[in-house]
Subunit: 311 residues, 2 copies
């Protein structure tokens, strides 16, 4: 067994202990641990990094706790629009979807695009058509309905205000989920999935489905999944920037992540974070916000699950 490793996130933002009840904290930690365990078990069974990333993300998409899949927030029209992407660090193949609705697991659809189409990215009705052809699992609107998120939307409905979740002083479900993994064969993969931001303009695409911005994987450097104010991650081409700092400047994964998240991204005005893993199984967790839902596990080491800045 080679050095296997996995890291996941469930969003970064203004996550402060005072806004979260012990019960909520427990629920989030349980949700993270479950997603981590499922992905890590897959790696132990010699499944690929792509498979492991997909499995971990599916668990979070199926949970109402996280803003992706089932837990997606409402757009300004009261609808759901989900984005996701996945990349295989061995082949540099990638798949992404944007602005889809009623798809149970957007990350699986992104993987189907990567593996079964000649495209990298499909959006809207074109993506839905492809999902039907691939026999992806659909769910009714009621599956995605969540009273808490609905109330959250009613608060800002009709205004131009978006709720980034992680930018408000309330305990709210956070922006994006993602996973990165190194499998037993030394291959890397990264995936990201999101339900957007509350009351977002329909048609807005953030960094999550963009290869190089929200997601990137390359066996020769690292696998990265981001979360935060998407527009800044797009302008900074954040995920690929970390890979370039490693490849062209010889930086370590940790130094590259720190430089991008705590220096370059802050200068642009962006807040958020990311998880990363390199080919040696090193893991980096970086965020410039008060907290980030996160968990990771490296071969033969105990798993780590954390929420706030200090844990």
């Amino acid at each position: 067994m080679n050095k296997i490793a996995i890291a996941i996130h469930g969003g970064a933002g203004t996550i402060l202990k005072k806004y979260i009840t012990p019960e909520q904290e427990e629920a989030y930690k349980k949700g993270l641990k479950h997603a981590l365990d499922v992905g890590y078990a897959a790696l132990e069974q010699n499944k690929t990094a792509v498979e492991s990333v997909e499995l971990s993300i599916i668990e979070m998409e199926n949970s109402p706790l996280f803003n992706a899949g089932k837990g997606s927030v409402f757009t300004n029209k009261g609808t759901h629009e989900m984005d996701a992407s996945i990349m295989d660090g061995k082949t540099l193949y990638a798949g992404a979807i944007a602005l889809v609705h009623n798809i149970k697991n957007p990350i699986s659809l992104a993987r189907q695009i990567m593996e079964k189409s000649e495209h990298v990215m499909l959006a809207g009705e074109g993506a839905i058509e492809f999902a039907e052809k691939m026999k992806c699992k659909f769910e009714q609107d009621s599956y995605f309905y969540d009273e808490f998120r609905y109330q959250q939307w009613l608060e800002v409905k009709g205004s131009d205000k978006v709720q980034l979740d992680h930018a408000v002083n309330k305990n709210k479900k956070i922006g994006t989920i993602g996973a990165v993994a190194l499998d037993a064969l030394g291959n890397l993969a990264a995936g990201t999935s999101t339900g957007g931001v509350t009351n977002k303009k329909i048609g807005r695409i953030g960094d999550s489905p963009l290869i190089g911005s929200g997601t990137y994987a390359n066996n020769s450097t690292c696998a990265i999944s981001c979360t935060g104010t998407g527009e800044f991650f797009m302008r900074g081409v954040v995920a690929y920037d970390i890979s370039c700092l490693m490849e062209y400047k010889g930086m370590s994964l940790e130094d590259a992540c720190h430089e991008v998240v705590n220096n370059k991204l802050l200068k642009l005005g962006g807040d958020g974070g990311l998880v990363g893993v390199d080919g040696n199984g090193n893991i980096a967790i970086s965020f410039n916000t008060e907290g980030m839902y996160r968990a990771y596990k490296q071969f033969k080491k105990p798993g780590v699950i954390a929420i706030y800045k200090e844990n």
Copy 2:
């Protein structure tokens, strides 16, 4: 007057002299020259690089010769879906649209998103709604109708075949247009606009509207606009890769473009090209195909207009 410079492209691909009549060649050269002159004149009048890039692209979008705006190709449903993006190298602000229809000048809508919204990217009906709010110019379907492109579509309609234009041995209008510029204040900008590929799946998004893939600008390095098989430019994060090779490895613009287009992109299997300009007014024109519609002009030097590999 500082060193001003502009470079534009009208697509790269299998462009061979034997497939193009002297009249067609003349028309393309005239179209390129006109777009170049308009952009260069703007720079001479101390307009910004962003303005100049937009003006050059508008000229090409308004021409039926190029696959963008008026000349956009048909999707697999017989509709038009246009994508565009623009980036300001001074501020790193960016704007992009995907999958829009009936917008006369997609590049101007991308600029409006950059300057008048909190978003970077809007797609589909959400982008159209924003365009209405901004009072962007719309055109009827008939404006975008072109007998030649319609026949081109009929040939592959009903099949899964896409016509990349640049991959077939016929004289066909080519994939994407773009421009990069350096203005008198030393600011860089890049923009790209496309009508997609003939018979493409609706909802397919290529590299043209993606910041870092098809378009990137940063005063500290370069401005880049790409054209070619979009999926490979997305997986290679091509435009930002050139910037990183310059910033992190100290490569010149020309060397970085050559490395990416003639080495890295070819290894991925991607064909196409790009135009680039740096802060000193150096221009790079790179393509790994038989030809690329292109033109450039540097301060106090004669303009250059070319189509085939050897000119």
